[in-house]
Symmetry: C2
Subunit: 151 residues, 2 copies
């Protein structure tokens, strides 16, 4: 049986487009490609300005998943590294890659002296919720999201 | 009848402590003062690093409310100004100050070329939800928050 090599690497300006491709891939899968109105140039600009950062997971040299995060601020706790996106291509799930990506995210948050990490999960996504609970996360169910789109 | 003067001003390093005081005030009101583990120094540092920004509302020269926000990034829409905190002292509510603060926040988001704004509201907070709906906000109810505290 072939042994695969899994690697987790930090995002660079050169690899930002892979994250954008994963976002498009998921949007197509969800039949909402038109809902993605941002561009890869905006991703690169946000990365270069220090607004976003992330990790990529590779299997035998090919990227198969990612996390995208940025620093926010909790009025009660202080700095908070927020996980905006967490994606693994379907054929590479259940191999432990999600745990490696999540561990790298937690490590990064601690290295940046964040007091906490936060993210959102859809209420019907039981496998994801179980994964987070296994990682000792608190799941808060009483908040709704307000949004206004300008574009 | 005395006419009051209401002003909305941008946050400065000198006025950041007023926002911290509002946060403590609310935490005491909610009987959770010990849950606030951050410090005014962390607020000032976050402001000086460009991580947080906000507005203060004053009535006849006294601060009575605030917003606290920061830039985040939506993978589908691009830059998003996130409203972390929005507070008005109880005796100054229903005077239209909330609308002035919210308008200033929306204006700021547009000036920063954000594609959207986002925030959270507790599911039982009907007056706040009505306020946001009056402002043509979308209220998403299907997301849960995941969190891990380090401190």
């Amino acid at each position: 049986m072939k042994q695969s090599t899994v690697e987790i690497i930090s995002l660079t300006a050169d690899t930002v487009p892979y994250i954008f491709d994963f976002v498009l891939e998921l949007a197509h899968y969800e039949k909402s490609p038109d809902a993605v109105i941002t561009t890869v140039e905006e991703y690169i600009s946000a990365f270069e300005q220090g607004l976003i950062d992330g990790h990529l997971a590779s299997v035998d040299g090919s990227f198969v998943g990612c996390t995208l995060f940025y620093m926010t601020f909790s009025t009660w706790k202080g700095k908070c590294l927020y996980l905006e996106d967490f994606y693994i291509q379907s054929e590479f799930r259940h191999l432990g890659i999600g745990q490696l990506l999540f561990d790298a995210y937690i490590e990064k948050a601690k290295a940046l002296d964040a007091a906490m990490v936060k993210w959102q999960v859809l209420d019907w996504n039981s496998p994801a919720i179980k994964f987070y609970e296994k990682n000792n996360a608190i799941i808060d169910k009483e908040w709704w999201n307000g949004k206004i789109y300008f574009k």
